[in-house]
């Protein structure tokens, strides 16, 4: 495993070039080019703001400002977008590059790294716009914004481990791709992203936090909507999940990566 990591590091130049390539390729042939990088996320922010804050006049309990509900939505949906982008790329990761894997000897994990970084780049753009929006409407949360970093890292850790697992499993069991999309749908609604745990009847509220991801998204809401720090101890299940998934990922990778090429 250490060897794999070292080889991955040796291929960092290739990984970085590939990330750049995929990013430029997306807007390569369009007339507006790089403008599209901004337009899509901007449209999304506008829709949430106009529809929820202005048209529906939606309000959150205990929250100030007319944009509170929009901020609430975006602070959950944007990180979830990153998560689901990662996960939905995963199943096709090795299958898509079958011919490359069969013909050229290079670290397989580079493909995971490239996909991860690509998702991250997309997220960085939209997240930066979100920050600008927060500043413009005077809702920037202040220093507690720094708490986003550990939350994001934890989420990325879970995402990366899941990616490796799904990418490998889907080579052997092609049902994983379908199952992944289905699970993402459930995941979206079973995690307090577009609703908050406080909206749920008290009797069921605790069940929401059986989902380790809930604490992470609750954390985002705390930071962006209320300017508070997340409930750190609530993140322990997510940490345990990340550790367990990593063990599974490492196990699968060491046991199955050689056999994988035979199945591609």
């Amino acid at each position: 495993m250490r060897n794999s990591i070292n080889r991955l590091w040796a291929y960092r130049g290739f990984i970085w070039q590939s990330v750049k390539r995929e990013f430029t390729l997306r807007y390569h042939d369009s007339i507006l080019g790089a403008v599209w990088i901004i337009v899509n996320p901007l449209a999304m922010i506008l829709i949430y703001t106009v529809i929820f804050a202005k048209v529906m006049q939606a309000r959150l309990p205990n929250a100030q400002g007319s944009f509170a509900y929009s901020i609430f939505l975006m602070s959950g949906i944007l990180p979830w977008g990153l998560f689901s982008d990662l996960i939905s790329r995963a199943p096709s990761l090795f299958i898509e590059h079958a011919s490359l894997l069969k013909k050229i000897q290079f670290p397989k994990l580079a493909l995971v790294a490239i996909a991860l970084l690509n998702s991250l780049v997309n997220f960085a753009v939209i997240f930066a716009l979100f920050m600008i929006f927060l500043v413009l409407c005077g809702q920037f949360p202040g220093w507690s914004i720094l708490a986003v970093i550990p939350l994001l890292l934890l989420q990325l850790w879970i995402g990366a481990a899941l990616m490796v697992i799904l990418a490998i499993l889907n080579v052997f069991f092609r049902d994983m791709g379908q199952l992944t999309n289905l699970s993402l749908q459930f995941g979206f609604w079973l995690t307090p992203i577009v609703y908050s745990a406080s909206m749920i009847p008290v009797a069921y509220r605790d069940y929401v936090f059986l989902n380790p991801l809930s604490a992470i998204f609750d954390g985002y809401h705390q930071i962006f909507v209320y300017g508070l720090l997340p409930n750190w101890s609530g993140l322990i299940p997510a940490g345990v999940l990340a550790a367990v998934l990593s063990l599974i990922a490492v196990h699968l990778y060491t046991q199955r990566s050689a056999e994988m090429v035979d199945e591609l």
Partner: protein, 407 residues
């Protein structure tokens, strides 16, 4: 010193009876296996000394590409071991990982990095790569407008920009024009002279016999024959002629072999042979060599006339040369059942190098249309190699004398 040592190498793919079997195998704690192994390579052992060239031949499906994949390290062996001393470069799929939207130059960077070079190294090698590919201003155009030859040129230039310790070359190289083929072979030979070990995978008999020090023939996942390239090629030819006959009509001869032939059958072909000057059977022929095509026939009924003929075809099936006994004034008349004849056609094989087949025919007149006793396509195959003659191109070897005088 050996650059490659392969010992007891075997590769098997797992096959599961049902789609659920694999899942059950993975999940069952008893780890009982629910698959059977499909062996594509077995008991492969060979060594290649540093700086030598090994040819690997075999029909499609013999296991060549699996062997290569294991040598390059993309596929893991099931049994046995491979010890490789040095950096391997494979010219397997030239242009792998090229992206059509990006320029040649950008693709050089991507491709080079994929092969393990650093940006600095590639920057240093860039002028050399550009010059060798020889595609001029196209280097800054998107690869999508390249011809396939240009892509191969560029890909070859990247893959061989740094001299590898071991170079694996396959059919890929036969693409591209002659000029580039020559340049790339010059480079390959120069690398070999500097100590690079070569592995050639090819059906091209000429290439194998002219470049390789040794060859191995793979058949059905095993080494069927190993040794001197020419001997291996002969063996390969013999193997080929047994199973490449097209099915027109098939009959079993006395030895139980399937013969593909057509005709009314009043005369039978007992034997056909290709013989050299010493009357020994050959399958690899040198350009210009005097060869005898020999037919042994037997009449099963009384017939009035008999003419025997042959036809040499190139690999595309074009007739290179053909004649028969009628045109040479040797038509036979009034034959009795049981009569046997030996027909010998001796001629210098003045064709260009390549593979050829010989069809033979027995009929009544100057051609086989009116009365055809027997027609056998691909009675045998042979390879013509240029050994000894000055290098030439084209389908014919025309004896040339050269005089250069100072005027």
């Amino acid at each position: 010193m050996n650059a490659i040592i392969v010992q007891g190498l075997g590769k098997a793919y797992k096959q599961y009876g049902t789609k659920w079997a694999r899942l059950r195998e993975w999940l069952s704690p008893t780890s009982r296996s629910r698959h059977h192994l499909h062996w594509v390579l077995k008991d492969i052992s060979f060594e290649v000394p540093k700086g030598q060239a090994l040819g690997i031949i075999g029909i499609n499906g013999a296991g060549k590409s699996t062997l290569l994949k294991m040598l390059t390290g993309t596929t893991q062996p099931t049994t046995g071991s491979i010890v490789i001393d040095g950096r391997v470069a494979a010219l397997l799929e030239l242009g792998m990982g090229f992206h059509s939207e990006f320029s040649g130059r950008q693709n050089v960077y991507m491709s080079g990095q994929l092969l393990g070079l650093t940006i600095d190294q590639i920057e240093q090698l860039m002028p050399e790569i550009e010059a060798f590919a020889g595609i001029g201003g196209y280097i800054d155009q998107p690869v999508r407008i390249y011809s396939s030859g240009m892509q191969v040129r560029l890909a070859f230039s990247i893959a061989t920009a740094v001299r590898p310790d071991i170079l694996i070359v396959d059919e890929a190289l036969s693409v591209g024009d002659i000029e580039f083929q020559h340049r790339s072979f010059d480079r390959i030979r120069r690398y070999q002279a500097l100590g690079t070990t070569l592995l050639f995978v090819s059906h091209d008999k000429q290439l194998i016999t002219s470049i390789c020090d040794r060859a191995i023939l793979l058949d059905g996942g095993k080494i069927a024959f190993a040794g001197d390239p020419e001997a291996v090629m002969d063996y390969y030819n013999a193997m080929l002629s047994e199973d490449t006959k097209p099915v027109i009509s098939q009959t079993l001869d006395q030895e139980g072999k399937i013969q593909t032939q057509s005709g009314s059958g009043e005369v039978q072909l007992i034997n056909t042979r290709l013989l050299d000057e010493q009357a020994l059977p050959v399958e690899v022929v040198k350009v210009g060599q005097l060869i005898t095509i020999e037919l042994l026939t037997k009449c099963t009924q009384d017939i009035d006339d008999l003419v025997a003929g042959f036809m040499i075809k190139d690999r595309l099936g074009q007739v290179i040369f053909g004649t028969n006994t009628f045109h040479h004034g040797s038509q036979l008349h009034h034959l009795k059942a049981g009569d046997s004849h030996r027909f010998s056609f001796s001629l210098p094989f003045n064709m260009g190098p390549g593979t050829y087949s010989v069809s033979v025919a027995l009929h009544a007149d100057d051609q086989h249309i009116s009365k055809n006793y027997l027609w056998q396509d691909r009675a045998f195959l042979f390879t013509l190699v240029n050994a000894g003659e000055p290098v030439f191109v084209g389908s014919h070897s025309l004896p040339t004398s050269v005089h250069v005088t100072v005027v």
